[in-house]
Structure formats: C-alpha cells, structure tokens
Amino acid sequence: MNALELGLVLSISSAVAMSAAGIEPVAGRMRITPAVIQKGFFYNGAVVKVEGSIGNGATAIVTVTGSDIEERFNRKRRVAGVWVNASKVRVFGAPSLFLAFSSGPVRNLVDPHAVETRTLDRLAVVRQICIEPHAPSDLETLQNQFLAFKRDSGSYLFSESGIVIGAPSENGKPFSLTFEWPRAAASSNYEVHVYEVEGGVISREVEMPLQVRRVGFPEWIALLATRQPALYGIAAVLIAAFAGLGIDYLGTTLFGTKRVAHG
C-alpha cells in the first residue's frame, strides 16, 4: 500500500468514526484562522478567529483546551501568626489552557450532564482538578485557588460573550468568534471544539487543531539551550562577557574615564 492509498484509508476511517460519534468532519463548515500560530522573534501575540455556520435555531459554544499537565505548588498556612509555605501539593488532571466562549451561561444553554462530560464551564473544569495531598475539607478551596491562579495568568478564561451570530438563512446562521491568543500560552498543540447547541442538546461537535510553534531565531536558540546545554552555557557566558567589554568600550569612547568621587 503506498502513501496515497494509506492516506485515503485513514481519512475514510476517521470520517466513519467521527460520524458514528455524532461528530462531523471539518469539511468546509467550520474554520479557524490561523491554524498555526508562529512565534518568531518579533511575535506580538495573535488574534484567532473561529467561524462557520450553525442551524437556524441553534447557538454555539467554543472551547480551546491544552493537554493535561502536572504542576507543583507551595501551599501557604498560617503558623504562629505568619503565613509560610507549609507544604507542597501536586496538581494534575487539569488542562494547561482552557478558554470557553458562549452566548450566555453554559448551564442555561446545555443540559448539565453534557456540560460535565464535555467540560464546558468553570464548574466542570474545577471537578477535573486533582490535588494531592489534601484534607477532604480543603479540596474545594485548593481547586478554586488553582483556578484563580490560572485565570490570573491568562491560561483560563470563561467568557459568556464574544460569539457573534448572524441572521438565519437557507444555509443556517453564520457565527464567528474572535479572541486574543494568551501571550503566556506555551508552544504546543491545542484543540478547538465548536459545539452546536439546539434545544439544550449538543447536536453537532466539530474539533479543529490549533498549533502554536516557535519559528526562526527563537526556535534555534531554544533548541540550542535544550539539546546543547553545555555549549549554550559557555556561549551565554562568553557573549555576555564580550557584550560587557563592548559596552565598556562604547562608554569609554562616549564618556571618557573620569573617576567619580566617593563619599
């Protein structure tokens, strides 16, 4: 079987699988722009647009999720009147990034079971967050604290606005969502889910990939730092030292070398 035949088989297989799960392939109905965010040396953030069409009686919910990660935190407690880092906790099961956009409170649009199984709102995300170790009475507090931390860093966003839905037509209603990509989001693969909701039920779900990649000089430097750390370390020291000498030469040329009197 050559590459073309293999590709055809895989495409047909995925289409069949997705249809069986009630999920239609992208196939021109939904689009994300850009599909790849490139972080070059002068990267200044990106604006992402998700657009497509939904049924005339439907509304849309859009989520963007990153892969699950594990993070470690210091947990503060009050000891003898002062707040100290009393212990360490491990947080896992939560996505690295979660952005949710809807045209209203999600639990008013979709039945709660679907909200939980597809993780569509804040409460559903909180229930995914696992924290070890913890006292049973502390879990909810720690989960909310973790959520607050992620929201403050821009990694989590729950917005009940932003989705613009157009007028009904023969081909359904157009919708679009434009949002600013979080600057602090790491280079990785993300998933954009568009849920078409009608009558409180998710009638259609579309999944689209969104890649964020370092390119050019930043990618070269980052690869050097991780794959050749010894060389990178030596180069960093030498470049910094020569830069210092260069700045010294420049300063001497511009300002001379008069001594400053010390008190």
Binding site: W83, V84, I221, T257, V260, G263
Partner: protein
C-alpha cells in the same frame, strides 16, 4: 516593539525590558546595589517566569560585571589576589549553605527560617547603616574616614598565612578574607540573595580596604561566580534566556552611567542613607508579606535558589560604588 524571548517563551515590550534594566542599573550606579533583591521581582512584575528571571539575572550580571571590572581595572581598583581569595571563600560558603538548606528542608522549616534570615539581615544591616549615616550627617560634612581604627582588628595580625595585598594596601592573613567570605557565602546561599550589601562593608570595615578597591575587587569576584552560575543554570535547568540577559544588560549599563553621574551631587553618607532605606523598605515589605493574608494560598514552586549552590554564589555581589564611567 515586542520581542519574543526564546527560553522564557513569552513576548515582552522591548522598551519595558530595557527600562527595567535601566532602573536596576541606575540603582547600581547610584548605590552600588547589584539588584539581587530587586531584579528578580521587577522581572516577575513584567511577566518573566521566576525561574527564568533568577537564572537569567546571573547572565546579565556577567555582562555588567565585565564592563565594571574593565573600568575599575583601568582605574587600578581591582585587587586580583584578594578577589581570588574571596572567591574561594564564597565557593566554600555557598557549598556549606546549600547543604544546610537541605537539612532545613528535611526538618520542614527551611522556607520560614530563610524568610526570617532575610528580614533579620536586611533589617539589621539596613538599620545599622541608617543609624551610622544619620550620625555622620549630624556630625557635619567633614566626615572622618569610616574605616575603623587599626587597633580594633589588631588580633587579625596574629593569624598565620599573612599576605600583602598590594593593590588594597593592606596586609592580612589569607584566612581572614577566606573565612569572612565563607560566612557571607553561607548567608547568601541560605537567603538566596546578593550579599552585596554585606560584602563591601565587610571589605571596608574589617579588611580595611579602600572603598573603590573594594568595589572593583568585588565586581571581579562576582564576575566569576555569576559566570559559574550561568553555566550551571544553563546546563542543569535550561532557564537562561540569553536574549533577555543582553537586553537587560543594555539597559542596566546605561542606567549605571546615569546613576554614577548622579553620585556627584550626593555625599557618601547620603548615598548610604538611600541604600539603608532601600534595604529597610525590602525588609518591611517582607514582614508585611508574611503577616497579611495572601491573595492565593498556592504559589508555583520555583526551587529555592540556595538549592542550586552556584546560584547562591551569584549573590555575592557588591555594593558597586558606581564609578564605572563618568
């Protein structure tokens, strides 16, 4: 103009970054504070992750220290013999300090004790400097030398391994600077801070070195400790962002130029008062920080700097008196 930092993985406004470096450089030029307890918080304020800020700071100091050493060398302010002795002491102290931190962590009290050490040392040094400087100010402009009478430290002359440090015009047992810098190295490793506000007063008041030679010699020592830290951070943690370091260095060197020029208009005791006030402000801020309820009970773990013994060494900075270029 925005720049994407390849290792930090974020975009940042170029002018904000250079400006942050310039602020630290200004304080360095004005007060000789290398900014150990200022640079990292300022970088974090502009969005740099803490681990990247701490590691990259070392690299930036290599650039700034090289510039400073070159200038001080031309002025005859670098005592290489003393610098090497101090460096060896600092290495030893940092190694001990890191092991001490490991023991404290096992006991479970490391973070609290480190915070208390920070507050005590910053508050103590800052407070005593402020008192001494205020006394001098009240004493009038014709201040006598701040170097203590020779008799105060005469017992040091009886120690073995006596050496002449020609550039500093002092004679000491090699054990003295070695031991003193070992103690500072331990404190610096435990506290994970500069020690700059400790080492130059130590050189001036105990080793009786001229202040400008103390500054230049300390810069020489810092250059090598920070070079070692940069290499270790790059190879162990991959957290050195060279682009960030060079942009900070560009700003800090310009700021140091301006700060050094401003010192013309201030007397030494006035400068010390500003430095003392800065140290006290940081100490008070830390006290307030542990007393008020934090906005979030969770904070990301950036491994304490002292656990990486070269990082503790990076903090053996100087109160660089600021005479880099004028």
């Amino acid at each position: 103009m925005w720049i994407f930092l390849p290792v930090a993985g974020i975009s940042i406004n170029l002018f904000v970054l250079v400006g942050a470096g310039a602020v630290i450089g200004f304080l360095s030029g004005l007060l000789g504070v290398a900014g150990g307890f200022l640079m990292t918080p300022i970088l974090m304020m502009v969005g740099i992750p803490p681990t990247i800020a701490a590691a990259t700071d070392s690299c930036q100091i290599v650039a700034a220290s090289t510039s400073g050493v070159a200038a001080h060398f031309r002025l005859g302010n670098v005592d290489f013999k003393m610098g090497v002795t101090l460096l060896l002491g600092g290495l030893t102290g940092a190694g001990i300090g890191v092991q001490l931190i490991k023991v404290l962590r096992v006991l479970g009290d490391a973070d609290f004790l480190i915070t208390v050490a920070y507050i005590v040392v910053l508050g103590g040094v800052g407070g005593s400097m402020l008192v001494a400087s205020l006394k001098k100010l009240r004493g009038g402009p014709m201040c006598s030398s701040s170097r203590p009478h020779r008799a105060t430290w005469s017992f040091l002359d009886k120690l073995p391994f006596q050496m002449s440090f020609e550039r500093s015009n002092v004679r000491h047992s090699a054990l003295v600077p070695f031991a003193l810098c070992t103690i500072i190295g331990i404190l610096a490793a435990i506290m994970g801070v500069g020690g700059g506000f400790m080492i130059v007063p130590m050189m001036v008041y105990i080793l009786r070195m001229p202040a400008h030679v103390a500054v230049g010699t300390s810069l020489f020592q810092i250059l090598f400790t920070c070079a070692g830290v940069t290499y270790m951070q790059a190879t162990t943690n991959h957290t050195v962002d060279l682009v960030l370091a060079l942009l900070l260095a560009a700003g800090s060197t310009v700021g140091a130029q301006i700060g050094a020029r401003v010192t013309r208009y201030l007397r030494g005791d006035q400068l010390l008062i500003i430095l003392a006030a800065l140290a006290l402000i940081v100490a008070v801020k830390m006290v307030v920080g542990i007393l008020i309820t934090p906005s979030n009970l969770l904070s990301p773990i950036s491994q304490h700097s002292a656990l990486w013994w070269p990082h503790g060494l990076q903090e053996l900075r100087t109160c660089a008196g600021g005479a880099i270029h004028v």
